[in-house]
Symmetry: C2
Subunit: 474 residues, 2 copies
């Protein structure tokens, strides 16, 4: 009973290793997404805060709020911590105290799990359309606050009678931009052989989604975070080789699958636990809510709220005209950030098992003192690689990696409903003998099984989950 | 590497199954504790708040505070939730925003792990002395705020060079009385064969501590919560039978050890995860800090703060004269509660594996919407069994259990540094065919392995941990 049903597990593993789906090739999926976008022109213009109309700065706090009190609110926090280079600062932050659903419907087709993926436009997407989960719904969506139509397939997630759960976890969004915002990441398996992919939806394998992650900015952050939760190889099931043909996976892929399925790891689980406990006890993170007008060091023009001298993200206002959204015209605040970030994992095969080098960070929107993230997370203006102050050489190792050592490199964007063209290079760098690397205390090598276990309990940041999704076994 | 070192694991398992330690029998340990108390008379008197001296009610908030700003503070919260019968209330709560250490030093003696246990007086202990961990230290203790002497053996926990970690976890205290208070529960193994048990300390096996749990109020809550974290049988190690002689454990003990070591369980892990996620999404818990003077429905006399009509706990003031504490005379506020509570687990052998019936509760001091606790937790005035409003019959099943079905029953007290004679009957009731019991959504059967995994991530309440410690395998 512990493990996911055997048939589901095998079907998932094959899904990760198959790039030819039942209905569409990878090339056809790209074409489908392009023509979807072409048919739905979307015009997004930066406007002044004045032009936001239904959004305005609240008198007392200066917070940027919608007149309905719904959606979200841009407010401010005063942060102090002794973990990381930045020890005290103010910043704007998004407060959206509701749990959204990011849900994917899955179905076994001839022994291979297929995921019902959606083509969707969001105002912040660099190239308009992206591949998203079957359902992305805020509570406002399904309680119809903004009078749009009810998201298709939503009923599967509200009423589970026709499905079996594979993934159902609460996961944190960006702790650097959201105040304790969680989403419910769900994957449900349905038996309905006739369940149609309605227009704008396609059944794809996990391997196909991973292949599409080689195209810049095409697979949405929401998709990445959900597929990162999938149990490809269960920790108690070490026979993945017997389920797939020989020579299907690369040696790196084999080290990854072995790492997912093995109880062994460079640090024992109780050592990982102790490392986390020690960091939480040694460091503090204090986050005091302040009004947006109290945020010190930032200034507001008629079009942006920016930091006076640091390259932090900006708060801007946009006007959106779109034929693919339920509401075809609206305005909203967004988070913008230039230049492009760098989000990277250093990985290494230690005793034949793939390990990733995680870093513990104190982020203002975290639930606890710290959250585990990628080795390098230079994004939204935090931890700029140029000014990282890194003396360990780890940032340099990533930023200056030889092409031969780069296992993944592509531009991906953050969620396009709140982030406006926020792009980062997602990079995975493999090094030999990672266990010989001298590490500052906030870094630790974890096996993929350990990462997956910590992930289930909400301890992996959205950036880490997002990047892990890019790891292909092929 | 994943599992604890094999020798340590075997030594721990034997420790749980051995009631004859290297130095003391159970009877000698009882005698030792009694004579320790006899030599250290402690007089605890209830006094007026006025007589507290260095403690007073702050002008603005009405909070009960120490003039140094140290120790802790009694403040107020306004709570609303839709999980549980009580949906909105105000209450006093203890705010002590520092992480204390509850640490036990362990040492293998002839293949059996021994724990260095301490005899210690606390003002709230019903019978004065209790068996406590090697070290109980608040940050104030080791930064010497109250000018006492430095706790013995503390250096082992501050400097780990001479030990290996077995347990190192952050665990929550009572969510009904403390505002997000955590302790660091630590067990360290030392190799030092000559490490002496100083006066007031003894080396005992885990089996002996469990045996002492049959004496009322003798084993402190702090001891219970730390030993509950010990990995007696690792989930990846199913060979516990080969390590111990035949017929050592009871059939219940065997079902417990099997449950700890098996990947199987009544609900699969992903179903447990989904159950937790669903409850957190369906329910809310709002806790608004208010000053103690704002707490509505409570009234203050010169000697107590009590609820006007509900049988909640009271805040009182005490004067302590003691020869065993570093400071021999002091005053402090405490939490008192009458009548005696009932804290109980229903257990059942399902498919040969011991399962416990946990209940999810929203507690004002919780970090998240809910925490998992015992089946019945009628304590500190919450969920009185008489007024439980329980329609499922589960409370009745526990309260009216036949003597034959009661596997454990004894009076235990909550931590005597903050709780004044707060006693509950700790009870474990076994039922047959637990899986056939019709359960409201906030209850779930978990195997002991699942309980232990969730416990590591801080999801088990102190009451649940405390009660699990009472489960003997013998």
């Amino acid at each position: 009973m512990r493990t996911i049903r055997q048939r589901t597990a095998n079907s998932l593993l094959k899904s990760a290793l198959v790039e030819e789906g039942a209905y569409r090739t990878v090339a056809q999926a790209v074409t489908w997404l392009s023509s979807f976008a072409a048919e739905r022109p979307q015009v997004v213009r930066e406007i002044t805060f004045e032009e936001l109309g239904e959004w305005s700065f609240a008198e007392k706090t200066g917070d940027l709020v919608h007149k309905s009190g719904q959606f979200f609110r841009v407010t401010g926090v005063r942060v102090s911590t002794d973990l990381g280079l930045l020890t005290s600062w103010d910043q704007p932050i998004i407060d959206q105290p509701e749990i959204g659903i990011l849900g994917i419907i899955a179905r076994d087709i001839d022994g291979v799990m297929h995921l019902l993926m959606q083509a969707k436009m969001e105002p912040g997407n660099p190239s308009g359309v992206q591949l998203t989960p079957t359902v992305q719904a805020t509570r406002s969506n399904y309680t119809q606050v903004h009078q749009g139509s009810r998201p298709r397939y939503l009923d599967y997630f509200l009423n589970r009678d026709r499905s079996r759960v594979i993934v159902d976890q609460l996961q944190w969004e960006h702790g650097s931009a959201f105040l304790k915002k969680r989403n419910r990441n769900v994957v449900l398996e349905v038996d309905d052989d006739d369940l149609p992919a309605e227009p704008g939806f396609e059944w794809l394998t996990l391997g196909q989604v991973k292949k599409l992650l080689e195209v810049p900015n095409l697979v949405s952050m929401d998709t990445r975070t959900v597929i990162a939760c999938l149990p490809i190889v269960d920790a108690h099931r070490k026979d993945w080789r017997s389920e797939i043909g020989p020579n299907v996976v690369t040696s790196l892929g084999a080290a990854a699958l072995d790492s997912l399925g093995s109880p062994e790891a460079h640090s024992a689980d109780y050592e990982v636990q102790s490392w986390l406990t020690d960091l939480k006890c040694r460091h503090h993170l204090t986050v005091v809510p302040i009004g947006l007008s109290q945020v010190s060091g930032w200034h507001r023009t008629d079009r942006a709220i920016s930091h006076s001298d640091a390259p932090f993200f900006r708060v801007i206002a946009v006007d959106v005209e779109s034929r693919s959204r339920e509401v075809v015209h609206w305005t909203q605040p967004m988070i913008a950030s230039r230049p492009r970030g760098l989000i990277a994992f250093v990985i290494s095969q230690i005793d034949g098992l793939l390990h990733v080098l995680v870093k513990a960070r104190a982020e203002p929107g975290s639930a606890d003192t710290l959250i585990l993230g990628p080795t390098v997370q230079s994004a939204l203006g935090f931890e700029s690689t140029r000014t990282s102050g890194d003396r360990s050489g780890i940032v340099d190792l990533v930023a200056n990696a030889a092409a031969d050592d780069i296992r993944y490199s592509n531009v991906q964007s953050e969620e396009g409903g709140r982030f406006h063209h926020v792009e980062s290079e997602y990079r995975i760098v493999e090094i030999a003998d990672g266990d010989r690397l001298s590490l500052p205390p906030e870094y630790l090598w974890l096996s993929l099984r350990q990462v997956h276990e910590l992930l289930q309990f909400g301890l992996l940041s959205v950036e880490a989950r997002s990047l892990l999704a890019c790891l292909s076994f092929l």
